[in-house]
């Protein structure tokens, strides 16, 4: 007993160091495994609050570009609306039965208060949280394309796994064919992501548009991702397909969070199939 106490007294700094180092490593490992509840994230009261304050100042410098993006989106939506009218007029007269329409996706608007894009695993922080109806596993997009998936929420803030992250794997397909692939990021350039697992039958050309696939329950089908920049075809297989993103990941202001209202229903059905 005496010796144990002596041992502890002699190596007390080393033992303290070891203890704290193990705690830090546990946090790190937890951080690298997707979907474990995390303690260290910027969606907490202090860091979220500070980011919010700083962002409300920085926002003024970006008003011009933010306005431009908004007006561009307005133009796009107005054009869509015009097309709708023509369709109505030319079509056969029909009664719109509102019970036949159902809402599958619900959109929330939120603001990015912290964004990083130079690290290997990048995350964003939003100024909305569970109080506003956000839960983990919701898709995040803006008018130009996809951004990421909600990872953690606190009552007022939430953190997003950016598509520029090792844990991010998003189902995508080519706009002109239905061959599915997975969007990943190799950590090199924040404007360029990669697609893997595309079947070799798929015909790919430089400049093809890539959109999200309908396979996931997180994103609706057909949200823009980017265009194919270059690719290599070796051993009868696509080796590396680079995709140039539509979004400039270094400057993201306002985003929309997508909630799939039929997610539970779809998951439940798929679970049944898997269990049989």
């Amino acid at each position: 007993m005496q010796q144990i106490i002596y041992f502890i007294r002699k190596f007390r700094y080393f033992l303290l160091f070891l203890l704290l180092e193990i705690i830090a490593i546990i946090f790190t490992v937890q951080h690298h495994s997707y979907h474990t509840s995390k303690f260290i994230n910027s969606a907490n009261f202090i860091s979220g609050g500070i980011y919010n304050k700083v962002n409300s100042v920085n926002e003024y410098f970006l008003l011009k570009s933010e306005n431009k993006i908004l007006s561009e989106e307005n133009v796009r939506l107005k054009n869509l609306l015009e097309q709708k009218e023509i369709d109505y007029n030319e079509g056969v007269f029909s009664v719109i039965d509102s019970s036949k329409y159902f809402q599958k996706y619900e959109y929330y608007s939120a603001k990015v208060i912290n964004n990083n894009y130079t690290k290997r695993n990048n995350t964003l922080t939003l100024n909305k949280g569970s109080k506003h109806g956000l839960t983990p596993d919701l898709g995040v997009i803006n008018s130009k394309g996809i951004i990421g998936i909600v990872e953690n929420t606190s009552s007022n803030f939430s953190t997003i796994i950016s598509i520029l992250n090792n844990n991010s794997k998003i189902n995508v397909h080519l706009k002109n064919s239905n061959h599915f692939g997975t969007l990943i990021w190799d950590g090199e350039d924040y404007n360029i992501t990669q697609i893997v697992d595309i079947p070799r039958q798929a015909k790919i050309k430089i400049g093809d548009t890539v959109v999200t696939g309908g396979k996931s329950v997180i994103f609706p089908e057909g949200i823009n991702v980017g265009v194919i920049k270059d690719f290599t075809f070796e051993n009868n297989q696509y080796q590396k397909i680079n995709v140039l993103l539509f979004n400039d990941m270094s400057s993201i202001g306002y985003v929309e969070v997508i909630k799939n209202l039929q997610k539970i229903e779809q998951k439940k059905l798929e679970q049944q199939v898997n269990n049989e």
Binding site: I23, F27, T28, V29, H31, I40, I50, N121, N166, G187
Partner: protein, 168 residues
């Protein structure tokens, strides 16, 4: 005694805010973000309690982690350099019994200060990038990131120490 605690607390908060609000968004040449907050570990008084230094640097790293969503990466690295700080300084000065009470980083020759900062910075950055990439395949990226980021961290921390500390 009390002024030293106050000074270190202010330095702690100031460096964390400077790091997360300014230096995490520099993105020099596209990807270099110097970690200047480790200056706190360089400047922590040597005569002080070692336990306080270990816990302090753990919390320092953890606060930066909280802001940059990086798990415990910075905490692990900062804790490690806090632990090896004294043995490294003893090796550099080639003395085992230097005067703790009167020790001041500004009083030892500049080349030795630079060596001390360089070694600790390289160790810190190497651990940070290794834990961040978390893969042996990315060794080259880790290596380049360590070297380039260290250069800027060292320049900025030496300038900061020269400008903001007093030579008694």
């Amino acid at each position: 005694m009390n002024s030293s605690i106050g000074l270190n607390s202010v330095r702690f908060i100031g460096l964390v805010l400077l790091q997360v609000l300014v230096f995490n968004h520099i993105n020099l040449f596209g990807y270099i973000n110097p970690f200047i907050y480790i200056v706190w570990v360089f400047l922590f008084p040597f005569r002080k309690n070692k336990t306080l230094l270990l816990i302090g640097s753990f919390l320092l790293g953890l606060s930066v982690d909280f802001f940059s969503d990086s798990g415990g990466v910075n905490a692990a690295a900062t804790l490690f350099i806090a632990f090896v700080r004294l043995p490294i300084l003893k090796t550099i000065l080639r003395r085992s019994d230097f005067d703790f009470l009167l020790f001041n980083l500004r009083l030892i020759p500049f080349s030795k200060t630079l060596l001390y900062i360089t070694i600790l910075t390289l160790i810190h950055h190497f651990i940070v990038f290794n834990l961040e990439y978390f893969s042996f395949n990315a060794f080259l990226s880790v290596f380049y990131n360590t070297i380039f980021t260290s250069v800027f961290t060292i320049i900025l921390s030496v300038l900061g120490i020269i400008l903001f500390t007093k030579k008694k």
